[in-house]
């Protein structure tokens, strides 16, 4: 082999070894920038976990490894301590190895189902008591509907765990034949049971992550499917009014009161939106009371496609001066506006 090729080969080998030793790039695995917030990290995890789950990629031999990498990345970057260590020292800089299995992290977001991707549901063991389905009404704010959020909850429930000894199960009635003497038999009914491993119910706790997805509508459900039970989170925006915005579907409505002068000569203003960004309004024409201004793309994100947003509809009303005008002011206004008397009488209700 020519010396040039050999040295390139050695360099390449060293680089590869170096890359392996240096550890994985967790930010790249999650597809987030180094400055990503915890919310962005959770969102990225949730999206990729569904895509990369091995059950969803049966033909990919590296699916398991990619999925493990994803879990490791989330475990480190979602913990502020571990993330700091990782940012400074890289993967080997992390004090202890990754303890929790990726299965645990996955089920925090999705529950423990094995059948989500089209398999058959696990057989219900009738001897283990079925947990009860529980529905949680989760109150969400309009700000959360706009930007999304994650809510951490702790689920405490009784779980069947192995206990020492055996217990009776599958008890049934059977006919037993006993011989009393030559040619004489007796049929009796007996209760016959099998022996099963003993179980006891222990209250266990687990942290779950509920995602409030942008654009979520009242009544939408987020199911966590656990062992033999379903936890449904039902979103709703509470009855009391938001002080600024009113939601209608994906559109937002708001009202602005302007002064009489502003309505006649024009004005500039900014409305602070749900996530803090400003919506600028600039008028140089006359603004009538009841006039509506449509700001496309400033409403709520659509649940099915977050890139599409509804509109913000602003309705203006005019604040008339409270004190009576002086004689001088009245004459002045008549001269300035040069408007004659109108006084048109007509049916304004039109059948309503």
């Amino acid at each position: 082999m020519a010396p040039q090729n050999l040295s390139t080969f050695c360099l390449l080998l060293l680089y590869l070894i170096g890359a392996v030793i240096a550890g994985r790039d967790f930010y790249k695995i999650l597809g987030v920038p180094r400055s990503a917030s915890i919310k962005d990290i959770k969102k990225a995890y949730r999206k990729l976990a569904l895509q990369l789950h091995p059950d969803r990629n049966p033909d990919d031999p590296q699916a398991q490894e990619k999925f493990q990498d994803l879990g490791a990345a989330y475990e480190v970057l979602s913990d502020s301590e571990k993330r700091k260590q990782y940012d400074t020292y890289g993967e080997e800089g992390l004090k202890d190895g990754h303890q929790s299995s990726h299965g645990d992290i996955f089920s925090h977001f999705f529950g423990d189902f094995g059948f989500m991707f089209g398999g058959t549901p696990r057989q219900q063991d009738r001897n283990i008591p079925r947990g009860s389905d529980i529905i949680v009404d989760l109150e969400v704010t309009l700000e959360e509907v706009y930007a999304g959020n994650f809510v951490e909850v702790v689920r405490n429930k009784p779980v069947a765990r192995q206990a020492p000894g055996k217990r009776k199960c599958n008890c049934r009635q059977e006919m037993r034949t006993t011989q009393l003497g030559p040619g004489r038999f007796q049929m009796t009914q007996e209760v016959v049971c099998d022996e099963c491993p003993n179980v006891k119910l222990v209250n266990e706790e687990r942290t779950l992550e509920v995602e409030i997805e942008p654009g979520v509508r009242d009544g939408m459900e987020y199911p966590f499917i656990g062992e033999g039970e379903i936890l449904i989170v039902d979103f709703y925006c509470p009855n009391f009014l938001h002080p600024i915005f009113e939601r209608r579907g994906d559109d937002l409505y708001t009202n602005v009161t302007i002064s009489l002068v502003e309505s006649l000569v024009g004005f500039e203003m900014a409305i602070t939106h749900l996530d803090g960004h400003k919506v600028h309004i600039s008028r140089d024409k006359i603004t009538r009371p009841g006039a509506k201004l449509w700001k496309k793309g400033e409403g709520l994100p659509n649940f099915d496609n977050n890139n599409i947003k509804g509109s913000l509809i602003i309705t203006f009303d005019v604040d008339f001066p409270k004190e009576q005008l002086t004689e001088e002011a009245r004459e002045g206004i008549k001269r300035l506006l040069k408007q004659g008397s109108v006084q048109k009488v007509y049916n304004g209700l039109q059948g309503y």
Binding site: K39, P129, R130, G131, S132, D133, I134, I135, V136, D137, L138, E139, V140, E143, E144, A147, N149, V151, E152, V153, V154, R155, N156, K157, P158, L201, N203, T207, L208, L231, P238, N239, F240, D275, G276, H277
Partner: protein, 221 residues
């Protein structure tokens, strides 16, 4: 504007950290993992008789004739779930830890009625009848119960009492049991004094962790 905001915030935050270090058992307090918060759904266990607070679509045959509230021995009944809510709409946002001395409403998840008591006698022991009242979580002023506990907040591990705001009775179980059609279920009623029959502990359920305010995007200085 932002300089003032950020500066203003560090004062209370530092104080908060100091307090957490001083309070014993600060581990649980720091993460707030052990607290009961508004919006949580849970089962309540009467510590003396080991029954869970329960309701169902069965009305009292006497007294007010409203939906009955009982204590059940089973730990596995979906009808034992109650939702903790503030005393008024918006009074206790999702994830706010319930303070000792705060008035809350307990809404029965499956029927939408609130834990309620009033001047009617209970059917078995002649104490004060406790019922479930209202529609879709909306009842009246007699749905308010003050959480009586020691310390600052209602901790999940703690045994607490529920004292009715309108009539001052404590939610209690003294052991009387019903016959058919709710055989074996215990009577739950209101008693005027605090004693071992009226302590309750949060058991199974979904506990919303105390929430951290999401920042509405600010500039780094």
């Amino acid at each position: 504007m932002w300089i003032a905001g950020c500066g203003g915030a560090t004062g209370p935050v530092l104080l908060g950290l100091l307090l957490e270090l001083l309070v014993p058992g600060g581990g649980a307090a720091k993460t707030g993992a052990g607290l009961v918060t508004c919006g949580s759904v849970l089962k309540l266990l009467n510590t003396h008789h080991r029954v869970r607070l329960h309701s169902h679509d069965i009305k009292y045959g006497s007294g007010s004739g409203q939906q009955s509230v009982t204590g059940v021995e089973s730990s596995d009944d979906a009808n034992s779930y109650w939702r903790i809510r503030g005393g008024s709409e918006g009074g206790c946002p999702r994830g706010s830890p319930v303070r000792c001395g705060q008035a809350v409403r307990l809404t029965h998840v499956l029927t939408g009625k609130n834990l309620h008591t009033h001047h009617f006698p209970s059917p078995l022991s002649n104490n004060q009848e406790v019922s479930a009242f209202g529609e879709d979580g909306e009842g009246d002023d007699l749905d308010l119960w003050t959480v009586r506990c020691s310390g600052q907040h209602w901790e999940r591990e703690a045994a607490v009492r529920f004292q009715h705001v309108g009539t001052s009775v404590f939610l209690s179980v003294t052991g009387e049991q019903y016959g058919s059609p709710i055989r074996g279920q215990h009577e739950v009623h209101g008693m005027p004094s605090a004693n071992t029959y009226n302590t309750w502990k949060a058991m199974e359920g979904i506990f919303i962790k105390p929430s951290v305010e999401p920042s509405a995007g600010h500039d780094e200085l």
